[in-house]
């Protein structure tokens, strides 16, 4: 005799509280991007010709269901993501993610993919190109699409990069084909503010989210009393150090710090409750990187 249905469900265990399946629509799309829209480095008094700072490139953009229209969610705009650095994909430990990716690269007409750090997936959703092994998800040709199936597992809480890992990986990452996953732990509160800082070189500039120099890089905003989270990642070939003026946070071991280093494809998130009103600098503390644009403003209102 077959066991009753409730008994089978009991054997499978209860579903995780609040666990969800999240569908995200993303495309690799061409854009013309100016790394220095105010045409100046205000700290050094240098001026730039827009022709020397503007280039066509391919980036990840969020879309509505079925890739009907580009979409930038409000929290992505506040975080400084979703225009150059790809969509800030949010999930919670226990969630399943279906990332519906379409290659709309009409600029270079190259194959692209999405490869995710920090989450669980089968090799078919690894998004890599490997002769004899990889499937369609490792080389999504122009006009084609692929759905990556991911699980935010127990060790997935945190901030993680995703990026192109196809045959065009090197040029595509240099062009800006990357973004971040922000995964909250079970029972963990989201902070009032969440910011994305992506350190990467782009056409000779050292950029944060594709922009160089104060006023062009994201101007992050918060208020005293709010909880804030900085999501930081690095792409490319260089090491960077993330530093925020006037603030400290604690390592997992409880040690206060105000600067943390990271190498290519490394990432972390830091949190604090805001108590320091004013306009502050955040930057990569590799001085040559700072000189070449890797610096921005953080505005804390009373």
């Amino acid at each position: 005799m077959l066991p009753a249905l409730p008994a089978v469900l009991a054997l499978l265990g209860p579903p995780a509280a609040g666990a969800a399946t999240r569908d995200v629509w993303v495309a690799a799309t061409p854009t013309t991007w100016n790394a220095v829209p105010n045409a100046r480095d205000a700290l050094h008094g240098t001026r730039f010709d827009p022709a020397a700072t503007t280039f066509p490139t391919v980036v990840y953009r969020r879309y509505t269901r079925g890739w009907k229209q580009p979409l930038r969610l409000a929290y992505e705009a506040d975080a400084g993501a979703g225009r150059f650095t790809g969509p800030l994909i949010r999930a919670r430990v226990g969630d399943k993610l279906r990332i519906h990716f379409k290659n709309l690269d009409t600029l270079n007409r190259r194959a692209h993919s999405m490869h995710f750090h920090g989450v669980e997936y089968k090799p078919s959703s690894d998004g890599i190109w490997l002769p004899l092994f990889s499937g369609r998800g490792g080389e999504v040709k122009p006009g084609q699409s692929f759905t990556y199936r991911l699980t935010a597992g127990r060790g997935s809480a945190g901030f993680w990069p995703y990026h192109d890992h196809s045959t065009s990986m090197d040029e595509s990452i240099a062009g800006g084909l990357y973004g971040g996953l922000s995964i909250a732990d079970r029972g963990e509160q989201r902070t009032d503010r969440e910011f994305v800082v992506t350190f990467a070189a782009w056409h000779g500039f050292q950029t944060i989210n594709g922009r160089a120099f104060v006023g062009n890089t994201p101007v992050f905003e918060s208020r005293v009393g709010e909880s804030v989270q900085f999501n930081v990642m690095a792409m490319g070939d260089e090491f960077h150090t993330f530093h925020v003026h006037g603030h400290r946070w604690r390592t997992d071991g409880g040690t206060p710090e105000d600067t943390r280093g990271l190498g290519p494809a490394e990432s972390f998130r830091v949190r604090w409750r805001e108590d320091a009103p004013g306009t502050w600098l955040y930057h990569c503390h590799v001085e040559t990187h700072m000189e070449q644009g890797m610096i921005g403003l953080y505005k804390v209102k009373r």
């Binding site: 105010n38 100046r40 240098t46 120099f213 101007v219």
Partner: protein, 308 residues
Amino acid sequence: MIRRRVLLTAFALLGWVGGPASASAETSTIRMPGKFFDPPRTTVVATDLVVFRNNDLVTHDVRIGGGVFDSGPIVRFSSWSQRVDQPGGYPFVCTLHPFMTGNLDVLAATVAAEPDSVLAGEPLTLSGRAPAGTTNVGVEQSVSGEAWTMAGPGVAPAPDGSFEAIVAAVEGASYRVTTPAGASRPVAPHVQAGVDVHLVAERKRRHTSVRVRTMPAPKGITATLELYSRWHFRWRSQRRAKLDARGGAAFRLPASRRTFARVALSRGRHGPVIARSGVVSLRTGRAAVDPDTIRPPGDHHDGHDGHG
């Protein structure tokens, strides 16, 4: 045979070249619907093809004054054409009906100015046609009847000789273009004097009043209030208003806006800037240094050094 040789010599002297026209030059047709030329006066650009079409029931011919230009008989319902390379004024006549006269004006180039009324500093489009095959057209201006000077870089016309050049309008200036065949007739668009624009900011208890005054007062011009974004280190367009009949406009800002302000005048929302006011601090209401020009202390290099 002798007559033909004489004719060829005459054409060479005048610079008229027979045979088929260059494919890209324009064609002008002068008709003979009766015992008259229609139109009686025709203006063409050198290298244009001129067609004389006999629509009459009797034979005509066309001869340039002095007898050097002669089509020979043009029988009814036929035509005869010539290409003209040398600028000049050419009266012509039908020798079979001497009362049939006309005039052909051959120009080195044509030019027209658009729009015909602008403010000094606004873009003025000079368009026209040079002889087909011209590789470069010079753009010249003469202010208040003085000597002609270059008004900008030359332009390379299309294969048919048509060209377009944009210059910043100068008060009292006439414009012409020059080609290897000579200069065009001048055009004199109506250019009004440049506009002075002043900004006054006054802090009230709850708001800041920003008033714009212009001299002279060009009604209908758009005034765009620009505020400096301290966090983005750039000027940003904030509000727009049309100048009233006295050339004024007013804006009201929250008293909390304490940055820098200036105003730009343009024709329409997207037109180029005709004039800009000085910078005023909304905090003090006084004239201020343009914050976009603030440089690090002790930094004396000229700035335009491209990549940092």
